[in-house]
């Protein structure tokens, strides 16, 4: 199964975030609870953790890029070889946990 990792929300006053740092590289497997990416808001850091083990396939927004709450940041899959679709529309949301610090 293929998943899209979305910018989590809602976060008070935040419409867009800036990607600070990816902690998983394409091809690597995220374990349950692993920190995947850190995001920056106007006053906080947002830690996004995997709530389901999966392989990170493609990063859609690199460090320093701005992305809207609810927009896709990356694609993941259960198997490392699953073919990625052209459209993200039908993909399931990647289960995640997030913490605003």
């Amino acid at each position: 199964m293929i998943y899209k990792l979305l910018v989590p929300g809602p976060i008070d006053d935040v419409e867009q975030v800036r990607v600070l740092e990816w902690h998983v590289a394409p091809g690597e497997t995220c374990t349950l609870g692993q920190l995947v990416v850190e995001l920056e808001t106007h006053k906080a850091l947002v830690e996004v953790r995997a709530e389901h083990p999966a392989v990170l396939r493609t990063i859609l927004c690199d460090s320093g890029q701005w992305v809207a709450v609810g927009a896709p940041m990356a694609l993941l899959s259960d198997g490392a070889d699953e073919a990625l679709p052209d459209s993200l529309d039908a993909l399931a949301d990647m289960p995640l946990a997030f913490e605003v610090n």
């Binding site: 006053d13 935040v14 800036r18 106007h42 006053k43 701005w66």
Partner: protein
């Protein structure tokens, strides 16, 4: 913004525009000191001083006690003796405690000493309502506009905050630099190169033909929202002017716009009585030789509650501005 202009910019948070302007000016001028509550290792209430303490150290970025009159007094004295100072007053309500050194000393020093003493101090403060109640929500910039010798600036975007703060930090007299709690969540394109805006220059941020709307600070965003609604709902073309500088006030830009549109509506979050809008309208009358069709939009004449429903009732919003423009143009 054109593609060419955008190529020389980077998108940053409002707080980062403040921090960048300060860091660049501190590097440029070793006499510049920053004083205030939580401006040191903590990095500021809105993180707008982040990185300055680590880079410039205790001597130049100084945490101060909760004593606004003392803070501004020290800032005025240091500036009079050859430093430049930026004093951070966290909320504009607390500036009331520091009016004596600011108004009676900083603003008058040049006059009192026949031009021998200059006080290059910037008092940076955060105005506006955002859920914090009667004594942490006020906008008293109109009080400051009536003090001879004070410059009063109020940006609405990260780029203007950057360019106006740099202008303030190079100015040779006291400046009150006013940002707003609701500006800090915003981000925007800011020039990568050194960029100093002129003091006393308003900016037409939306061209229009039927009515001129003036505002400053966060309320410029409300004015722009209302202008879009006026166009969509009533076919009314509103020109929006971001004042940027309240003292000196750019009456030339405002009068030229009103000469084209024939009507003006002012918008501010501070009280309307003796407010920014009153001043603008009366000066327009003096310049034009007659009062233009005019209306003022502001908050209720009431304290701002910390209850969000009552706060919303008190504050001016796009709906009230739309209604005021439509009534004026009926």
């Amino acid at each position: 913004m054109s593609a060419e202009a955008a190529a020389g910019t980077a998108r940053i948070f409002f707080r980062e525009a403040i921090a960048r302007a300060l860091a660049e000016e501190m590097a440029r001028d070793p006499r510049l000191l920053v004083l205030g509550q939580d401006v040191g290792a903590f990095g500021g209430s809105y993180k707008e001083f982040t990185g300055l303490h680590a880079r410039f150290g205790d001597d130049r970025v100084r945490d101060m006690p909760v004593a606004e009159a003392g803070m501004v007094g020290v800032g005025v004295g240091a500036a009079a003796l050859g430093h430049r100072t930026l004093v951070s007053i966290t909320y504009m309500d607390f500036l009331m405690l520091a009016l004596d050194p600011l108004v009676n000393y900083a603003a008058k020093a040049r006059f009192k000493t026949g031009g021998r003493l200059r006080v290059p101090i910037v008092v940076k403060t955060t105005a506006g309502a955002k859920g914090q109640g009667v004594a942490h929500s006020q906008c008293i910039e109109a009080w400051m506009m009536g003090v001879p010798g004070l410059t009063v600036l109020a940006p609405s975007t990260p780029a203007d905050a950057y360019g106006l703060l740099k202008a303030a930090l190079r100015h040779d007299g006291p400046v009150v630099f006013i940002d707003h709690k609701r500006l800090f969540p915003k981000s925007g394109e800011v020039p990568l190169a050194d960029h100093v805006l002129p003091i006393g220059a308003a900016c037409v941020v939306r061209a229009g033909t039927d009515v001129t709307v003036t505002s400053h600070g966060y309320m410029v965003h409300i004015a722009l929202e209302a202008a879009e609604r006026l166009q969509a709902e009533a076919g009314i073309s509103a020109e929006v002017i971001d004042l940027r500088s309240l003292a000196p006030l750019d009456t030339g830009t405002i009068a030229a716009s009103v000469a084209r549109t024939g009507a003006i509506v002012t918008l501010e979050e501070g009280q309307l009585t003796c407010g920014v809008g009153s001043e603008i309208c009366f000066r327009l009358g003096e310049i034009m030789g007659r009062m233009p069709r005019a209306a003022r939009v502001g908050p209720l004449a009431a304290p701002v509650s910390s209850n969000p429903v009552l706060e919303g009732e008190c504050l001016p919003d796009a709906a009230r501005l739309v209604a005021a423009v439509r009534k004026l143009l009926e």
